[in-house]
Amino acid sequence: MEMLWEYAKAFLVGGAFCAVGQVLIDYTKLTPARILVTYVVAGVVLGALGVYQPLIDFAGAGATVPLTGFGAALAKGVREAVDKDGLLGVLTGGLTASSAGITAAMVFGLIAALISKPKDKA
């Protein structure tokens, strides 16, 4: 039962993030690229204000999987890096925190592009 509730929270919160994105697409004509940028920057701001971590504690993957979670991870990374290395952390924190995700997307994307047949443009 406990576990079911955990999945339900992830579903509802994650779904809500996507529904908001869809509202933005339908009513503001924001392009997908702008939505991605907006979500990541919003995540950095929410993470910086300290309101995102409680949401992660509540919804788990429902808060970390949307791109706002990626932004919040950047904020957390830079805060930890500044605590550890001072001013240098301002420059190292963000990429350090996001390195696994960025590298994975880059390398997997590269491999997929190399082994795929060029797409049939229908």
Binding site: F17, D26, A48, A75, G94, A113
Partner: protein
């Protein structure tokens, strides 16, 4: 031929584009996006069950979802799903991975360097630039006033 003003053009464009069926798009985005996050939660529980500490497990979830998304993009499944799911497939981290892989696949014919290599960053580049820049602003404020 008559030149159109900006306003005339946008009225024409509005007329030509089909009306958005929000009663369908928003629930679909909610459902698909929610399911992707639920899958992420399942993976998170699995990795923690296998003994990974929370931080590692969380990173492993992101990497797994990215892998699945790139795989689905390569098989031409993700972009087809995205036609129906809209923001449901865009907002999760899988949408970011798709935005990396999809243009790279599409522009393969333009070569290894300016085709695949450059197009990997068509959409993810801005996301990384503005995300990292925002983190620098926050880091600087935190360093000065935190």
């Amino acid at each position: 031929m008559k030149k159109l003003t900006k306003n005339e053009y946008s009225t024409l464009a509005d007329k030509a584009s089909p009306p958005t069926k929000s009663y369908r798009t928003i629930p679909t985005a909610f459902l698909v996006g929610g399911l992707i996050c639920t899958l992420g939660q399942g993976l998170l529980n699995l990795y923690q069950y296998l003994g990974l500490p929370e931080k590692t497990a969380s990173a492993a979830v992101s990497v797994s979802l990215i892998f699945l998304s790139v795989l689905a993009t390569g098989l031409n499944v993700y972009d087809n799903l995205a036609k129906y799911a809209g923001a449901g497939t865009l907002v999760p981290i899988t949408g970011f991975a798709n935005a990396v892989a999809s243009p790279a696949l599409e522009f393969k014919s333009e070569g290894l360097i300016l085709g695949i290599g450059a197009k990997l960053f068509t959409i993810s580049g801005p996301v990384i630039v503005y995300g990292i820049a925002a983190s620098c602003v926050y880091g600087l404020l935190y360093y000065l006033f935190g």
